[in-house]
């Protein structure tokens, strides 16, 4: 680890000004940042400590049923907040299933969205891959069992955020604050495909930070579910994750559907084709099967990760059935 200084900004404006300088990193929970520093993948001269700024660690209900989540809210805070649990259980679950209790006590919502990928080629200090300015993605011809099955190329990372699929499914938006002021974007537009720029995972500009996450009230009658499949049940990254948010009318027909997957693509992967199959149809196991099939229809696996397709499919189907209140298989 290279030596660095930690600086405490007086306010948000000075924080973004400091971060706009070269060789600066934002310090929130420090979970991913510390890994990056220790593996010598980042060597900033200064860490701008966002925890010095007050008020970024709160969850507020604002008029209109919107939840405004501060970027320094921890994953455990998010998972336990009654307002989140009641209105957006899938979001609460996605936070609760990440990492370990110790990590969740430190890791922040903002950091979860802006963390760097866990690809083992990217994380290896002796390998200069596409994401680090090299010429190739080593996963293509290498060990790629955990890599992308959808939306890959030229880089085949999977985006590591547990929260992003749930936030996208909730139609959440982000307030980004930078030297040029504040802008608001949908969470779904925050992430950058490697086809646009393999060296980055999001649209944050120099100096810009996530200032707030806004989650609108769910549609009437909507229910949600988050499921992830992990090799290890303690402290592991998902092989595939799925969020389903569904609202059904009295006839049992789907009137609102959001299906988003995690850990399958370089960005959180929404499945509009699955949503289309669900909308207007009566939810049963056969429909959920068809929707899950559609969600993975475009999958293009690498040499060692085709097994992730049935796993992702199972997660989508189970999330749909759970959100829709339909029993999966008879016990």
């Amino acid at each position: 680890m290279k030596q660095f200084a930690v600086v405490a900004p007086a306010d948000l404006a000075s924080a973004t000004r400091m971060l706009a300088e070269p060789n600066r990193s934002a310090l929130a929970g420090g979970v991913d940042l510390l890994d990056m520093l220790k593996q010598e993948l980042a060597a900033p001269a200064e860490l701008v400590n966002l925890k010095a700024l007050g008020g970024l660690d709160r969850i507020e209900s604002v008029p209109g049923g919107v939840l405004r989540i501060g970027p320094l809210v921890t994953l455990n805070q998010l998972a336990a907040a009654p307002a989140v649990r009641e209105r957006h259980p899938a979001l609460a679950d996605s936070a609760a299933q990440a990492a370990t209790p110790q990590v969740r006590n430190l890791a922040t919502v903002g950091g979860n969205l802006a963390q760097r990928p866990r690809c083992w080629y990217f994380r290896n200090p002796d390998i200069v891959c596409l994401k680090k300015g090299g010429t190739k993605c080593y996963a293509v011809a290498g060990l790629n069992r955990y890599h992308a099955i959808l939306g890959g190329g030229p880089s085949f990372i999977v985006h590591p955020s547990n929260l992003a699929p749930a936030l996208i499914a909730c139609d959440a938006s982000l307030a980004l604050n930078g030297p040029d002021g504040e802008r608001k974007i949908a969470v779904g537009d925050f992430f950058t495909s490697p086809k646009v720029d393999p060296r980055r995972e999001n649209v944050l500009k120099p100096g810009e930070i996530i200032a707030a996450i806004e989650v609108p009230a769910p549609p009437t009658g909507a229910r949600s579910a988050y499921l992830e499949a992990r090799e290890k049940q303690s402290f592991d990254w998902p092989l595939a994750a799925a969020v389903a948010i569904l609202a059904l009318n009295r006839a049992g027909e789907v009137v609102h559907a959001r299906i988003v997957m995690g850990a399958v693509a370089p960005i959180p992967w929404r499945a509009p084709s699955a949503e289309k199959i669900l909308l207007g149809a009566k939810l049963d196991r056969a429909l959920a099967d068809r929707a899950a099939e559609a969600a993975l229809a475009g999958a293009a696996p690498l040499a060692h990760n085709a097994y992730k397709i049935p796993i992702a499919r199972a997660m989508v189907r189970r999330a749909i059935l759970r959100a829709g209140g339909v029993a999966d298989e008879p016990a």
Binding site: M1, K2, Q3, D35, T100, R118, W120, Y121, R123, N124, D126, I127, Y138, A141, G142, L143, R145, A229, R230, E231, K232, Q233, S234, F235, D236, L239, H304, N305, A306, Y307, P310, I311, R313, A314, M315, D328, E329, P330, A331
Partner: protein, 733 residues
């Protein structure tokens, strides 16, 4: 002078009188039905509170005045010639105090030591490593065993072939054995490279005073490290002192002075200051040893009644640039089979060298053998436990099968419906064996102080198994004093010699020496007490901290009061391990039953529960014994489901040298574990204690593998049992 004693030895249902010959000064061996007061009682580790509170000084915690920090530069190439190493710029960096070139003519694995520096901070040392200029000439490399076996593969060593000569064991006539078989199985099983992942990495703090060297070292063998350093620096061994007060695991990877220990001592000598050099997690994964991978082509046949008629094993294994990759032992030891041939070959690849790991060869061999036996039992339509009973040579294990089957509910569970939604349940059973009998060499000293405290001193080390605790328990038992008054002092070459902690040898080798020392001290104390109590020493006994006349228990003196009569400061006596003197049996049996649940849509396996039945002679502390069982099984879960040292074929670099990517079982991955111990009085030493560390690990992975095959109706023959492999096996049903 020797004497003959008759002992009641054996186990419940298999007891007999055995005459053994023992030296005159040896206490009579513990035998069947021995009444203990300290031994056999669940006793929390004496150093548990210190460890839990972070106050136990591990090597990592040692801080000396003026101490420097060392770091090692490692090759990023899996195979290269080294044309030159230039330390000049690194040496001139502010804060650097020493630098040395450790390169030879070539490196043969990524992570091999090339150079090292010592500096006033670890950060400066690491900065300095970046300034070392190494001119590498990369060479072709091979990191997968099956690639290294091809005739056109790059040669790992210029001097010889990648594939070594076979090591052959042969009994009977295998061809004839297969001719009489009613059914046979012919299949290939593979196991990956597993790393030890000791929570405390390898490393040392080295400090010179003239030509005397003191080294705090994370090691399983303080005397081995001492001797290696003495040879390396041409010093008499008594000039080298090695201290390992507390040790964060070793599992076989920490014998002798490794590169990092030698380098720390070299840097300290150059810099004329103490040097601390602890490896990083990544270095630990790539350069400090591993359990070799294996590919086992098994042919096994049995008669209609399940009796094995022939086993043939063609095995290849790779310990990187090292050897020791055989896995045939369980084939020779677990079951009766009249016709058997094993051929083991070592294959070199460009990867870090293997080192012994918890029952070397056994878990790999057990996995393949036990899966093959299950496949054979299925063909013969035999219950899998019954198949094992038919071929079991051990009467102790026969009893253990019964105990385990009852506790686990084998008969019901092996026939229970497997499906519940997408979940399939399965059960498996596998057998264990070991010879944790220890060896001679250890000597111990027992000291009574005037305040009534007793110290046991022995140059052993506690690798995490509870050695400190059981040594104190044995001394307290022999002396008849409460455990609280006994302190075990270990982990220092200034104490009397003991063996390295490996091969399940520590408990069986140290406890007889400790007990003899305690008996000798007791003799001295009783001679001191005799005049005070007006009785002959041989008429006195000590129990519960009171010295009494045997025939008149009211004539007594408190142990602490007796100690006040010690002339001078203390009274000391030595003891030694007497060579194993026969007795009942040195063999250990054991068996483990596993329950699993497999999600057939995701291929994810969850191990739900384990029943483990083991014997280890006299169980000194059932609590630490159960802890060993837990550890052996948890490590088996890791080997079964998760662990795999993965090397990228493009770069030759390990891609998962972190705790994040190299997957170890966590709390939620740990099954419910129930341990049962069969008491066996073996009379081979004065304590009859055997080691447990390895016996409890050998069968765990195999039991899980058998349970997964049972759950999904098809064997997964390659470890780890990851979702891709499980789904592929289900797809092939």
């Amino acid at each position: 002078m020797a004497r003959r004693v008759t002992l009641r030895l054996g186990f419940e249902g298999g007891l007999r009188d055995v005459v053994v010959t023992i030296p005159d000064d040896e206490p009579a061996p513990w035998q069947w039905g021995e009444k203990f007061s300290v031994v056999g009682v669940d006793t929390p580790r004496l150093d548990g509170p210190l460890k839990a509170a972070g106050r136990a000084p591990y090597t990592y915690d040692i801080q000396l005045p003026g101490m420097l920090h060392g770091a090692i530069l490692r090759s990023p190439y899996p195979h290269a010639r080294i044309r030159s190493v230039d330390l000049g710029v690194a040496r001139r960096l502010d804060g650097v105090r020493a630098a040395l070139d450790r390169s030879g003519a070539a490196v043969r694995f990524a992570g091999q030591e090339v150079a090292a520096v010592a500096a006033v901070t670890l950060e400066i040392a690491r900065d300095a490593l970046r300034l070392v200029k190494v001119d590498y000439a990369p060479m072709p490399f091979v990191t997968a065993m099956e690639d290294a076996m091809r005739p056109d593969a790059p040669a790992v060593f210029e001097s010889g072939a990648n594939v070594g000569a076979p090591h052959i064991n042969e009994i009977g006539n295998v061809a004839a054995g297969f001719e009489t078989a009613a059914a046979s199985v012919d299949a290939v099983y593979t196991t990956p490279v597993q790393t030890h992942v000791s929570l405390e990495t390898h490393g040392a703090v080295a400090s010179w005073n003239g030509d005397e060297l003191t080294v705090w070292c994370s090691t399983q063998g303080i005397f081995g490290v001492r001797d290696d350093l003495a040879v390396h620096f041409s010093l008499p061994p008594e000039n080298v002192r090695v201290i390992t007060a507390y040790l964060g695991g070793g599992f076989g990877s920490k014998f002798g002075a490794g590169h990092e220990v030698i380098i720390a001592a070299e840097l300290a000598r150059m810099a004329r200051a103490p040097v601390k050099l602890m490896l990083s997690r990544a270095e630990e994964h790539v350069a400090t040893g591993n359990r070799p991978c294996s590919q086992q082509h098994v042919r096994i046949g049995a008669a209609r009644d399940g009796a094995l008629t022939a086993i043939e094993l063609e095995q290849h294994g790779s310990g990187g640039i090292g050897g020791g990759s055989g896995s045939a032992v369980p084939y020779l030891a677990l079951y009766r089979c009249p016709n058997l041939r094993t051929r083991e070959r070592n294959v070199y690849i460009n990867a870090g060298p293997a080192s012994p790991m918890r029952a070397p060869g056994w878990p790999q061999g057990c996995f393949a053998l036990e899966l093959a036996i299950d496949e054979l039992a299925r063909k013969l339509n035999l219950d899998r436990l019954e198949m094992r009973r038919r071929n079991n040579p051990s009467p102790v294990r026969a009893l253990e099968y019964d105990i385990g089957a009852r506790a686990f509910g084998w008969d019901q569970r092996a026939r229970a419906p497997k499906a519940r939604g997408p979940i399939r349940r399965g059960v498996g059973v596998a057998s264990a064996a070991w010879h944790g009998i220890g060896a001679s060499g250890p000597q111990a000293q027992c000291v009574a102080f005037r305040d009534g405290r007793v110290a046991v001193r022995i140059g052993t080390q506690d690798v995490g198994t509870g050695t400190r605790t059981i040594i104190a328990m044995v001394a307290a038992e022999e002396l008849g004093v409460p455990l609280q008054s006994v302190t075990a002092e270990i982990g220092d070459t200034r104490y009397l010699f003991s063996l390295p902690s490996g091969g399940s040898m520590t408990a069986p080798s140290t406890t007889p020496a400790v007990r003899q020392a305690a008996a000798h001290l007791k003799g001295k104390l009783l001679r001191l007490a005799a005049p005070a109590l007006g009785a002959a020493p041989e008429d006195l006994v000590i129990s519960d901290g009171v010295v009494r006349v045997r025939a008149e228990p009211d004539r007594a003196i408190e142990f602490a009061d007796l100690c006040r009569r010690i002339p001078g400061d203390s009274l000391a006596a030595d003891g030694e391990h007497v060579p194993n003197y026969g007795g009942y049996s040195t063999a250990q049996a054991g068996c483990q039953f596993a329950g699993v649940e497999v999600d057939i849509e995701t291929g994810i396996v969850r191990v739900t529960d384990f029943v483990a039945v083991h014997d280890a002679g006299v169980i000194v502390d059932p609590l630490t014994a159960r802890s060993q069982v837990n550890g052996g099984i948890i490590m088996g879960v890791g080997f079964a489901l998760f662990e795999d040292r993965l090397i990228d074929p493009q770069t030759g670099l390990m891609v998962n040298p972190t705790m994040d990517d190299y997957k170890l079982p966590g709390v939620l991955d740990t099954p419910e574990i129930r341990a049962y111990f069969v008491e066996v009085a073996n009379g081979i030493t004065n304590t009859g204690v055997l080691g447990m560390g390895e016996a409890v690990h050998v069968a765990a992975t195999a039991a899980i593998g058998c349970a997964v095959a049972d759950a999904i109706g098809a064997p997964v023959r390659d470890l780890p049992l990851t979702p891709d492999r499980v789904l592929a096996a289900i797809g092939g049903v």
